[in-house]
Symmetry: C2
Subunit: 150 residues, 2 copies
């Protein structure tokens, strides 16, 4: 079993996608994260769900979550207000970690090792031209490995 | 809306649970992570799914995922073999980060800020005696916040 056999399609976004839209896609898809692709369809970045949340929660609240207590109710307006009309590019730190990407002939253990070391519960699967072919999530991988074991 | 209103029950484990069992529970429940409780039912540790994977994948493969390529197929035997009969306690690093825990009157934004800063997509919700009452996952939280917005 190789990466290409396990990979499923996923919603992708670009650096120009509004960040508020990214948060909405994550909520809608219940996905472990989203993949940012460049103009050629190559994965440029993998955004785990918690990093997407980092886009939406004001930085001073992340530094001290108790400060978030003063806002009694989080409406979509409050939550997404921080993002304004900014795009993914405008919300990201200047230097992002290289995305967890494997070629489509990667083994299951290779993907598991990459998820473990990157602490991101999904990997992007690309072909020989680095074009995105799909993603493999941690749960998809565990289901495969332990499928005959439960 | 407070933490107590959003919290759902979750499977808990203890420091004495076999690590292989923890991996199986994670696969079975498709959960974002698991909570380790002490004898009094207080959350001692939150294990995100990627950290559970770190228990199962040999360390030398995490350091260099390409080494994982030499093992062509990951069976449950190969995957869980690394764990042997070890317990959660025996697999963990000596110093673990303090778990993301909130009291049951925490606000939605407080939980979001904690998930964003800890990079763990769930928080444990405790009562005044620090006993675990349930968990709030990132997706549960986003569904609540954006429910009226999609």
């Amino acid at each position: 079993m190789r990466a290409r056999d396990l990979a499923i399609t996923c919603t992708t976004v670009t650096y120009d996608t509004p960040a508020a839209e990214v948060v909405r896609i994550l909520a809608r898809d219940d996905s472990a994260g989203l993949i940012v692709v460049d103009d050629a369809g190559r994965p440029a970045l993998v955004l785990p769900a918690t990093q997407v949340l980092r886009l939406a929660v004001p930085v001073y609240m992340q530094d001290d979550p108790v400060l978030a207590r003063v806002v009694d109710e989080a409406t979509a307006d409050v939550f997404l207000g921080e993002l304004g009309g900014r795009t993914v590019r405008e919300c990201l730190p200047e230097r992002a970690a290289s995305p967890p990407v494997v070629e489509d002939d990667a083994t299951v253990l290779e993907m598991a090792a990459l998820m473990a070391s990157s602490r991101v519960p999904l990997v992007a699967v690309v072909d020989a031209r680095r074009v995105l072919r799909g993603v493999v999530t941690l749960h998809l991988l565990l289901d495969h490995v332990l499928g005959g074991d439960q």
